[in-house]
Symmetry: C2
Subunit: 129 residues, 2 copies
């Protein structure tokens, strides 16, 4: 079963922005990117998600320590059986890549990017039942 | 100086959704709410932010352990000097209230809420320069 399908795929297609959370032993660090950014690079149904990294120094530092990352995406204009609006929690591993195919794609679209934050998707969970 | 003013106030007025991050010793927990929800209750320029809590059990558990919470809000339709779009990181203390003025306000608008997640705002930081 693809990780993004049905409702979660629709949320991915519509989310205006994406919250990015990494953490070390002390606490979480929150960063974000635009939905248009990840869609312009393209997200296969099982990931990975490639995010242009401008600064993201703390994110990088945290990922070097434990490699875990969580993303949150949401859109009010996705229909649920019981209402409208859905959010999805995406868990996985993250790494900053500065070479390779994904980095090249990111750099082509976003010349300011110093790296591609590549999120290997493990699980996608809908927040609303 | 008010915590929400200028650009951060505009992001608060426009954000479609709000990411909510709490954490215990193990790692972060991500939850979310709609921007319309917090705006319908009203956010004073220095907070607090009141969020209707339906489930949010893990959020509650984490807050009982350390009380820290971070929120992320963002909107593409906020103008910066160098472009458009802005995101803000909001740090503070959080608690679930099941009585009092804020809980009553929340309950009046959202009958399904079991509590008000009240975020006492300490700092608001723009993510983009």
């Amino acid at each position: 079963m693809p990780k993004f399908e049905g409702m979660s795929k629709e949320v991915l297609d519509k989310t205006e922005w994406v919250a990015i959370v990494t953490w070390d032993g002390q606490g979480p660090h929150l960063s974000a990117t635009w939905g248009d950014y990840i869609r312009s690079i393209g997200v296969p149904d099982n990931g990975p998600i490639a995010i242009p990294a401008g600064r993201m120094r703390q994110t990088e530092e945290n990922l070097n320590k434990n490699g875990r990352v969580e993303l949150l995406i949401a859109s009010k204009s996705v229909d649920r059986p019981n209402g409208s609006g859905q959010g999805c929690r995406i868990t996985g591993r993250g790494e900053l890549q500065t070479s390779g195919e994904l980095f090249d794609k990111v750099k082509e679209k976003f010349s300011w990017a110093r790296a591609a934050l590549v999120v290997h998707v493990e699980e996608v969970t809908n927040l609303l039942g």
